[in-house]
Symmetry: C2
């Protein structure tokens, strides 16, 4: 079991880095999005440093309509690897690190998602995780023969059912179903095959999944939404939450809120690891760190900053000049949690449009820490010890440079303080995160009874 005195750390790999202008900076690979050697190097670096996992985001459309702004960015899903193919590739060059990919419940089929993550779990010897998201961009709907995207409530109703179907499919076989008895001519024990026979509002899925039960039982289920519906889903089903909080206060409130909801589902709060994003800009001195950050900020084109702010908030800001105060934003059908986050940030600090877009564009709403290794470690330690986080999803500003910096400068400091591991505890992602292996959905006492499914 994981010790609460050690942080969990994810390496969130974003093509050339998380800063919106990273691709223009010499410490990033400009062609990172389709450079397999770049990702292999990052994965090996993160594994050598004993990160719990690498994390990949996803989007099934470009994000935006403003071609001028889009063509000046590398990170709005304009052109890069698809995450499951990339992680499967990386599973062949790593041995211990977890592999978490995002896949939307809105424009996928649960059978495909269950199957691909089960396959990745087998390929990697139990290192797969699925970051379950809903899709909020209308451009995604237009790529899948739909006229408009689902309303927020419907997206979450579909997601709730989707995750249940996926988990049910992962239990199509019992762990020891495949006996492979050459002499007796029995490849699997038919009593250990269970049909799902799911019939719900959104899906009708018979099963079985045609992959043996994953090494982890179930790949780790990660979730990224922070809206009310997102928190409800997470409390019931998530094992890791990737979230965005700017302040310690918000982080502690979110942590207590979500963990507090778990008892109602009969869940142990330790079985959910909350890992907010953290965007660290590290320098040997504070001045060096500030200079690094300023150099990146200077590379943000105004067209890119405004466009990204509009995408993140779902609001049309074209009527407001750069130096106007951020207006009250109307409610949209987009991702609610990000919109709230930026509104609160702008109100709290009285920001103008320009100030907000520079803040938003740099780390897209994630917690930005600019400082020395000790300052970055202090900030992470404070939030960890205050129970605002069980760990962090580290979002390097540039890649590979920003990951190399974090590994070389911050990790030794965290280790000196006993806050991060020196060696992997286990061989699966679950073991390293300190998450229990899920029992099969059919209690062993009920197996072999007439209720069991038969193909």
């Amino acid at each position: 079991m994981a010790r609460r005195d050690r942080m969990r750390l994810g390496a969130f790999l974003y093509p050339g880095g998380h800063h919106v202008a990273a691709w223009r900076h010499p410490s990033s690979d400009a062609d990172a999005g389709i450079n397999a050697a770049h990702y292999r190097q990052l994965a090996r670096t993160a594994e050598a440093a004993k990160f719990d996992l690498i994390f990949l985001a996803d989007g099934v459309s470009i994000r935006g309509d403003d071609l001028d702004a889009l063509s000046r960015t590398a990170i709005r899903y304009v052109g890069q690897f698809e995450p499951l193919t990339l992680l499967s590739h990386l599973s062949a060059v790593t041995e211990r690190i977890g592999l978490v990919a995002t896949a939307s419940t809105t424009y996928n089929e649960p059978f495909h998602v269950a199957r691909k993550f089960a396959s990745l779990d087998h390929l990697s010897g139990g290192r797969a995780g699925w970051n379950l998201v809903t899709s909020a961009d209308p451009r995604e709907a237009w790529n899948f023969s739909r006229e408009s995207h689902l309303a927020h409530a419907n997206r979450y109703a579909r997601a709730e059912e989707f995750v249940d179907v996926v988990r049910g499919l992962w239990d199509s076989y019992e762990d020891d179903a495949f006996v492979r008895d050459r002499e007796g001519g029995r490849f699997f024990d038919p009593d250990k095959l269970h049909l799902l026979a799911h019939e719900g509002a959104h899906f009708s899925v018979r099963g079985p999944l045609n992959v043996p039960r994953p090494p982890q039982g179930h790949p780790v289920v990660v979730q990224a939404g922070s809206s009310e519906a997102g928190k409800a889903l997470a409390a019931r089903t998530a094992e890791v939450i990737f979230t965005a909080q700017q302040t310690l206060e918000d982080a502690v409130a979110f942590y207590a809120d979500v963990k507090g909801r778990m008892a109602a589902h009969g869940r142990d709060p330790d079985h959910l690891k909350i890992m907010p994003g953290a965007f660290p800009v590290v320098g040997q001195s504070e001045a060096e760190a500030q200079d690094k950050f300023a150099a990146l900020q200077a590379l943000i084109h105004p067209v890119v900053g405004r466009s990204l702010l509009e995408q993140l908030t779902g609001a049309d800001l074209s009527a407001y000049p750069d130096d106007a105060a951020v207006p009250e934003l109307p409610e949209t059908n987009g991702g609610k949690s990000r919109q709230d986050l930026f509104l609160r940030l702008a109100r709290r600090e009285g920001l103008t449009i320009r100030e907000l877009y520079l803040r938003a564009a740099s780390a897209r709403g994630h917690w930005t820490i600019v400082g020395t290794p000790a300052q970055v470690a202090d900030a992470l330690q404070e939030r960890f010890e205050a129970r605002g986080a069980d760990g962090f999803n580290i979002m390097p500003p540039t890649l590979p440079g920003g990951l190399d910096d974090f590994v070389a400068l911050v990790l030794p400091e965290l280790r000196r303080r006993g806050l991060f591991r020196d060696a992997y505890e286990g061989s699966t992602l679950r073991e390293n995160l300190g998450l229990p292996r899920p029992p099969h959905r059919i209690p062993s006492a009920a197996r072999g009874s007439p209720e069991r499914g038969a193909a």
Copy 2:
């Protein structure tokens, strides 16, 4: 360009081998379906031997309702890796061999298929191929919230539109769209992004695909259907055909038929490589080969043989005893080409049910060659030179044993005859197969005109 005097060869990897009882034989890995090391070894063996490609089949359900029969086989999609995750994994441990995976047009979205194969093409440096199939098993429909599967004609109409959408999406960007101009702050040239804006009977897909144009322009499009609708689709769109013919006569007729249809689409017959399946059982002597085959046949359980025959023909044969002559089979909604093949085979040779199921089960209707290295090479050479094939998709009876045999015994014989390469000619699958790189769908003269799509 490829020389017509050299064969193309695929290594069709099926978990523990293509023989239905392979998993029971000591020269196969019984746990092959979820053994990543097994597949890495096979991929490296095939690449060292200079095979053009490795080929993976797929099914999105288990294949059958008879649990007793299913639980005695390893090859009816009861439990194994999903092909695209597996090929992405193998792309990290190989450098030159082509990587072809099957994906159905019936229960997938063209955006997902276009994206994953484009991603694999980038991951592998231009080695991806997509084997386009339609799904004929009702159990597949039941995994995707549908009550019944599409009728044969509708499946092909959907497939025709599907492949056009996928190809259109691969051309979302021009080859040189990503300029990555750090100084000027322009990541891609917006004039080189083209929306698809497809509106058809089955799909409405706006695009663009959020992956740069693949290194091969388009991954190689492979097709496996041999029905009338399948041949029509292949003549218009396929670049490789994987097919099943038992006799030289059938193979020559199929080859002439499909290549003859290409002129109507303005296509050069050389731009389609016909690669029938071949199931070689090789021994140093003819007696050793026959003994090897007999040992495998003896491992076929009668329940498995009958069940597989029923699955392949789509017919209910339970009313006929094993020693009855094969009856006239009623037309079904299943795969037509296999049904025809087995009916013809049974009539030609006057087979009983038992004789047919032993024949069908061994290689599932593919051409079985049992003999010495010279005899196997003779058979392949005859069919190649008679223009019954441009090459073969080799289906080893057991894996890894059967592939090792073919590489050690047959390939040297083919090389002595000048029929197979000593070294790869190119670095992409297209280059090795001798297929042209597709130009972008928008002629260069029309680019930059008002018709071009704009996001």
